[in-house]
């Protein structure tokens, strides 16, 4: 009797600590933020003292050209970073999918960039991009080319390059794992049927890897909206607003301009954007799966 009760309660006992902590430190703060976004709130006030202003913060942001600029920068950054990294990472995985000795050493080298602190990554790249003492300009100078103002004129490109350096290995390793778990029989069969390596890649490897690739891309996309420290250290959003992604703008609105309400409203916009992207991706995947299932069913009817 008492054992049965223990058994019925035990899942809750296992869940309880995690649920309590996530409720206190994630869900409650998120609710608090939504509540705070309707208020004119500065850091020295507690939220109760802040004046309720309704949707004012949201409307101000909606009409704020700086916010639009920052939104566009964020979307461009995320788009370029994810698509270039996917192409490079998957390409490298297809290229290096062979039984070579020392592959594990190679993979260790490749994951190094993403284990290092973003702050340090920003630091390294800021040094390398430095207009006079930086590695790149020294190199350009030594082969007789004009210097490039990396973090000035090409700031967005430069931070995209740094992010690609740091995160392409992530996609490379995941797609390599996916490649190596593909059924050997399908590849063998296609080889016997005389498929060229390119045909193998297009018609067998890529379609079979697709589920993993979609998850990987989605994870990278979500992470691309989290990038902040690298950019903070490299450019601090400048010059102008050219690299001020939303995460950075939120933190500056909160700490420099001391407008917590506006920052909270901005955070909400960002959350809604992420939610739409995630739901969109999942819906797309489901649609694809449903279509594939229909095609398969049709094929089976024919035979």
């Amino acid at each position: 009797m008492s054992i049965a009760r223990v058994n019925r309660l035990s899942p809750y006992m296992f869940m309880a600590p995690a649920m309590v902590i996530m409720a206190i430190a994630l869900l409650y703060p998120l609710g608090y933020m939504i509540w705070g976004s309707f208020r004119d709130w500065n850091p020295s006030q507690s939220i109760g003292e802040a004046e309720f202003v309704g949707l004012k913060n949201y409307i101000t942001l909606w009409n704020d050209p700086n916010f639009h600029e920052s939104l566009v920068v964020t979307l461009r950054f995320a788009f370029f970073v994810v698509s270039i990294e996917m192409v490079l990472g998957v390409g490298l995985a297809l290229l290096l999918d062979r039984d070579i000795r020392g592959m594990s050493v190679l993979r260790t080298m490749f994951i190094l960039p993403m284990m290092i602190a973003p702050v340090v990554v920003g630091l390294m790249w800021r040094y390398m991009y430095h207009p006079t003492i930086g590695t790149f300009n020294r190199f350009l100078e030594s082969i007789g080319l004009p210097k490039v103002d990396w973090l000035g004129d090409y700031a967005l490109t430069s931070i995209i390059i740094a992010d690609i350096w740091q995160w392409t290995p992530f996609i490379f390793i995941l797609s390599l794992a996916a490649l190596q778990s593909l059924p050997r029989s399908a590849l063998e069969a296609s080889r016997i049927d005389g498929a060229t390596p390119w045909q193998q890649i297009w018609h067998i490897k890529l379609p079979l890897m697709m589920p993993v690739l979609i998850v990987t891309g989605l994870l990278r996309l979500i992470d691309a909206f989290k990038v902040l420290e690298v950019i903070l250290v490299m450019t601090n959003g400048g010059p102008g607003l050219s690299t001020e992604i939303l995460a950075l703008r939120i933190s500056r609105t909160a700490t420099e301009f001391r407008e917590l309400g506006v920052a909270a409203a901005m955070s909400n916009y960002l959350l809604i954007l992420l939610l739409l992207l995630t739901v969109g991706m999942f819906a797309f995947t489901r649609l694809q799966e449903a279509r594939a299932a229909r095609v398969r069913a049709a094929a089976e009817d024919d035979s």
């Binding site: 006992m13 960039p113 995941l174 998850v215 420290e229 250290v233 933190s251 917590l260």
Partner: protein, 309 residues
């Protein structure tokens, strides 16, 4: 698989890739042993006299001797290093214990609200730290406090003086709490895929022998998922060790972590490249060591998180 034979172009590609991914780190390593004069003149490249002066400057507050080239210890890196270690270690251990328990419950039990819990866990994974900044700053400073009129808060004020109310902001526990919460969804997600693989028969055997649910979990299940725990530990440690934004909002003078120190010293107009690179190197060393020792676990964890989610 036909061209197994050594193809020079293929190895050239690999060499280039290794150079590109490790090069910047090595460059920073080399620069951290250079004097600023050498970095700026740049004539040397690899020919320079290595010096540990930068490291001495960075660690001046924990060194047992006084470096000759310094008359004042401005950079309190040693203290920040200790803060970082405390925060990263405690939050990693807490996250692992709490997260593995929750993952076990989600995998092994059917209970009311299970689906809600697992969807919520997935959803909060996508919340960027920047979004948490505003509410966490407000809550930790204003709401999660021991009241100045209450018993404990009053006692603390009487003994230590100060503002009277004791808030989570500015304490190690405040930063640890948010790191644990931030990492939990990820750890739960990863560990689920490891716990699924534990054979149920083992657990049932232990139960027949009279072990309670907690004994089964800690003595049977946990030892079997050690690789998963290692992977989760490395990822959690990495985030707690590297995080800047929330720590900078929540810490005060005495609880600063290393990333905050680096950013504070970068934003000034005149960057002391040698010292800042030495600091960066010290911050990068623990993750580098983990990578070299446990790259297999890291890769398993990464693929488990993405592929089997």
């Amino acid at each position: 698989m036909q061209n197994q034979r050594a193809n020079p172009a293929f190895f050239a590609v690999i060499a280039l890739l290794v150079f590109m991914s490790v090069g910047p780190v090595l460059l920073m390593f080399a620069n951290s042993f250079k004097l600023d004069v050498d970095i700026i003149s740049g004539a040397s490249g690899l020919l320079f006299l290595p010096t540990i002066q930068n490291y001495e400057t960075a660690l001046c507050d924990v060194l047992w001797y006084e470096p000759e080239h310094l008359d004042f210890c401005a950079l309190k890196f040693g203290g920040a290093f200790i803060n970082s270690i405390i925060i990263a270690l405690v939050s990693t251990i807490l996250t692992l214990v709490i997260g593995s328990m929750a993952a076990y419950a989600l995998v092994r039990f059917r209970f009311m609200g299970r689906d809600t819990v697992s969807i919520t866990t997935l959803m909060v994974r996508m919340v960027p730290p920047a979004v948490l900044l505003v509410p966490v700053f407000g809550l930790w400073n204003n709401e999660f406090c021991l009241d100045r009129d209450g018993l404990i808060g009053g006692a603390i004020r009487d003994t230590f003086g100060g503002r009277g109310d004791v808030c989570l902001a500015g304490t190690h526990s405040g930063i640890i709490l948010i790191y644990v919460a931030m990492n939990l969804p990820f750890v739960i997600w990863i560990l689920q895929s490891f716990i699924v693989q534990v054979p149920r028969s083992l657990e049932e055997a232990a139960r027949v022998d009279g072990a309670g649910p907690f004994q089964v979990f800690f003595k049977v299940v946990l030892p079997l998922i050690k690789p998963g725990l290692a992977a989760a530990a490395i990822f959690t440690f990495r985030i707690a060790w590297n995080e800047y934004l929330l720590a900078s909002a929540l810490s005060d003078r005495n609880t600063k972590t290393v990333p905050i120190l680096i950013v504070n010293n970068m934003s000034e107009f005149n960057v002391e490249w040698g010292v800042i690179m030495a600091t960066g190197m010290l911050l990068a060393i623990p993750p580098i060591i983990f990578t070299l020792l446990a790259s297999r676990q890291i890769i398993t964890g990464m693929t488990a998180g993405a592929v089997k989610g």
